[in-house]
């Protein structure tokens, strides 16, 4: 017996839960978290408005601004659309494989996120020295960011209730119709993921610097670099934030209302009615381009790199620092993302969506600006207390990567329904027991993706790290940067390799989890 329900936000069924225990703390908690995440914007606005109006005009009204605008917007659109397509394809291909194969291949197509974008650029540049400009920037960013779509989409596919597909198939629905049904399930994940990709492209710096492609963000860094001018940089950052508000505004109508399928439970197997050859081929090519090229560049640098003038450094201390900072941020982000994601659950109205989308804006603020905002805030309000402590660095990571965790958790939340919780309560479960035993298990895939994704992203963060890292310690990314900027590529390579290997840990764990999950979910609910 299957049940197919079309639910819309603000539907009638929401009234009972509104009175429930959780609704009292959920909204205030989510709003408080969102305000915390958005606090760097305050610094940005204060700084930008401290520039005189004529100075601001001098910075913004140049023909360069028009070019930057065309470059930036063009690239954002091209990359986020391409990454959405590639990411969805990867998720669908993965879903078509047997769980055992998917377990081996998933890390290969998620790991590109663990490779710093500047290393991806560097890898391609080493292979093709003439590579530069729009096409190169587009290629590099798509290959570096498609897992942001692919991972949540795959999580959504695995958590999807396939009974509706069975019904559709038994009723003779065409392949295309079934495809539409599948896409309806992963749409929230795909649209949310491509919004993240758009914001990542808006904030990217290192990759474009290597490829010689100018965007607003490279111009922001130029302001810092040559003019030591934080105010001008913040003024330009405001433009980037405005662009990201635009991106968020475009995403909003695309992601809802949604079609949700709920029935007797997921199928044990994915859609393997079709040939797996295409899936293997697609995944193979994607992994070769996304992972093979940067890894090849690392290997080349290690083997053929010149003997350089810097003494080599140990990988182990930075490895430990990177791992603990990134793990801390992953945990904080995931915990903080839960209330915000739950607020977006169907039936909770518009507020959740608005709170959620606003937190996305922080992605578009360059890491350096966020870090300087933390610096400014600690000296202004705390007399420098806690400055350059591990806590503050983890807090900065948590702010910068909050949207990554949120989009992952949200993908799972979108598939959970209050109805089950209500059902459990009508059967006598307490509100907390109903949440713990009914809703939480449905969120586990999203929680695990969030932990992994934030961990991977924090591992490669550089600009905020350089400002906020405790004096005397170093991370893999800061050590890589030290050697790389001094042209000691051979010595930089081991740190890049360690970053990729460390990033492989949660990725492999995650794929093992997805491998197990389908056969067990039924027992939990």
């Amino acid at each position: 017996m299957s049940l197919v329900a079309l639910e819309r936000p603000g539907g009638k069924q929401s009234s009972s839960w509104r009175r429930s225990l959780k609704s009292r703390w959920l909204a205030p908690a989510a709003i408080a978290i969102a305000l915390g995440v958005l606090s760097p914007l305050l610094f940005l606005v204060l700084q930008a408005f401290s520039v005189g109006r004529s100075d601001l005009a001098a910075i913004l009204w140049r023909s360069l601004t028009a070019r930057l605008l065309i470059n930036t917007v063009g690239l954002v659109v091209a990359v986020s659309v391409s990454a959405a397509v590639l990411g969805s394809m990867v998720a669908i291909w993965l879903d078509r494989l047997s769980p055992r194969m998917a377990r081996f291949i998933l890390p290969l197509v998620v790991l590109p996120v663990a490779i710093p974008d500047f290393l991806v650029s560097y890898g391609w540049r080493t292979l093709f020295p003439a590579l530069h400009g729009f096409g190169a920037a587009c290629l590099v960013m798509v290959l570096a960011s498609f897992p942001l779509v692919g991972l949540p989409a795959f999580a959504a596919l695995r958590g999807m209730d396939r009974s509706a597909l069975e019904v559709a198939q038994s009723l003779g629905a065409s392949r295309w119709r079934r495809g539409v049904l599948i896409f309806a399930q992963i749409r929230s994940a795909v649209v949310g993921g491509s919004l993240l990709v758009a914001l990542v492209v808006l904030a990217e710096y290192g990759a474009f610097e290597i490829l010689g492609f100018q965007t607003f963000t490279t111009e922001i860094f130029t302001q810092f670099k040559v003019g030591f001018d934080a105010t001008g940089a913040c003024a330009l950052s405001l433009v980037v934030v405005l662009l990201s508000i635009l991106a968020v505004g475009i995403e909003l109508p695309l992601s809802g209302p949604r079609l949700h399928l709920r029935g007797s439970g997921p199928l044990k197997e994915g859609d393997r009615s079709r040939s797996q050859v295409g899936a293997f081929l697609g995944l193979g090519i994607t992994a070769a381009l996304g992972l093979g090229v940067p890894l090849g560049a690392i290997a080349y640098l290690m083997l053929a790199g010149p003997p350089a003038s810097l003494p080599s450094a140990s990988v182990f201390a930075p490895l430990w620092h990177s791992a603990s900072y990134a793990a801390g941020a992953a945990l904080i982000v995931t915990l903080a993302a839960l209330p915000v994601a739950l607020l977006t659950r169907r039936g909770s109205g518009r507020l959740g969506q608005i709170v959620e989308r606003f937190t996305f804006l922080v992605m578009a603020v360059p890491g350096l600006v966020v870090a300087l905002g933390f610096t400014w805030a600690t000296q202004r309000f705390g007399r420098g207390f806690g400055y350059q402590s591990a806590w503050l660095l983890i807090a900065a990571y948590s702010v910068i990567f909050f949207p990554l965790g949120l989009v992952s958790v949200r993908a799972s939340v979108a598939q959970s329904s209050y109805r089950f919780e209500e059902l459990a309560r009508s059967l006598g479960a307490s509100p907390s027991a109903a949440f713990r035993r009914v809703t939480l298990p449905m969120l586990v895939p999203g929680i695990l993706s969030a932990l992994s994704l934030v961990f991977l992203a924090a591992l490669t963060e550089l600009t905020a790290t350089l400002v906020l890292i405790p004096t005397g310690s170093s991370t893999l990314s800061s050590e890589f940067w030290t050697f790389e900027t001094n042209a000691s590529y051979g010595q930089a390579a081991p740190f890049a390799l360690a970053m990729v290997l460390l990033g492989a840990v949660p990725t492999v764990a995650l794929s093992r989890y997805f491998d197990r999950r389908p056969s067990r979910q039924g027992a939990d609910i």
Partner: protein
């Protein structure tokens, strides 16, 4: 099994969080923010620690990050000493009154062009801006004799520029000082046309593109070429000086200063004393960093010609200001 895995992952993250935070920064008696190449800085710090037994916490980042950081930290900056790769970064801090004046006897130890305009910094090392070229594409007789010549149309498609490199803005500032604003704009515009398609992020990239045969020539501080040559020994990448006394033979100074609110002011003064001392300057000369000491009595680094042989330009780092006017010019011609 699944619950076990989930709780393992979460407790692992929690453990990481706790252990990451348990480790606080060591209780150093002197904090140095350094934008100078670590090759040189690590040697100086190690020798200072050995001599004075004052433990130093060295924080390395690019100078633009450090300067923005000190500006944001203001009165609560943990930095005692700031060392930058170029003078404009130091001038920017001085403009914001974030540096303390240095004693006259310290400044007197270094050559005149290595003293800050308002006595707030002193030079640790210096180098000269030169020409680097591909010996397979250009004969010595075809080379420009001055930096002004780089604007000539014959270098179209050959010239590469790194307009965002922090060594380039002193060259622009020096050019403006000699020729005035209008002429500088014309010169930059012509160079931009010559370097179309060859605008690169930094000097390291310029050198490797020359080695790959993608570029004919570029201008940068001489020590980049020495380091590149030392590391890779590319025979086709050669170095040449502009004619003596020209505008392009700009002396770049790596500078050190003490912050206004230095928590360890005494140790900071001792560190600057050490940097400008005969011993510190000898370390600069022998560091293998291919930079020249700033003390007139220090030896010339092994393998380098005396700095006077380049016929350095007379433009002092003081006129370079904070790089603001160079940025305006570079932005006006849309190189940045």
């Amino acid at each position: 099994m699944r619950k076990c895995f989930v709780s393992l992952l979460i407790s692992g993250s929690a453990l990481g969080l706790l252990s990451g935070c348990a480790k606080t920064s060591p209780s150093a008696s002197l904090t140095v923010y350094s934008g100078q190449h670590p090759q040189l800085m690590a040697k100086l710090v190690a020798a200072f620690e050995a001599k004075t037994a004052i433990p130093v916490a060295l924080r390395s980042a690019s100078e633009q990050v450090l300067v923005s950081q000190v500006l944001a930290e203001a009165d609560h900056s943990p930095a005692d000493v700031v060392v930058t790769e170029n003078a404009p970064a130091m001038n920017a801090l001085a403009e914001h009154h974030l540096l303390a004046p240095l004693p006259a006897e310290q400044l007197a130890r270094v050559v005149k062009e290595a003293r800050g305009p308002s006595r707030q910094w002193l030079g640790v090392s210096r180098r000269v801006n030169v020409l680097v070229y591909d010996a397979r594409r250009l004969q010595p007789s075809q080379l420009p004799s001055s930096i002004e010549d780089l604007a000539e149309p014959r270098f179209k498609g050959l010239l590469g520029l790194a307009p965002g490199e922090s060594d380039f803005s002193p060259v622009v500032a020096a050019y403006e000082h000699v020729h005035g604003q209008a002429a500088t704009l014309t010169w930059l515009t012509a160079m931009k046309a010559n370097a179309a398609g060859h605008l690169l992020p930094d000097n390291e990239a310029l050198l490797s593109q020359i080695a790959l045969g993608q570029l004919g020539l570029a201008t940068m501080d001489q020590y980049y070429w020495y380091r590149f040559h030392h590391d890779t020994a590319h025979a086709r990448v050669k170095m040449a000086a502009f004619a003596p006394g020209g505008t392009g033979n700009v002396i770049g100074v790596s500078a050190a200063g003490i912050t206004r609110q230095a928590p360890h002011a005494k140790a900071a003064r001792a560190f600057l004393d050490f940097l400008s001392s005969a011993e510190g300057q000898r370390i600069v000369a022998n560091s293998g960093a291919f930079e020249y000491p700033t003390s007139p009595s220090a030896p010339t680094p092994k393998g380098l010609p005396p700095i006077s042989q380049y016929g350095p330009s007379s433009v002092s780092p003081a006129v370079m200001g904070s790089g603001r006017s160079a940025l305006n010019l570079l932005q006006a011609v849309q190189l940045l």
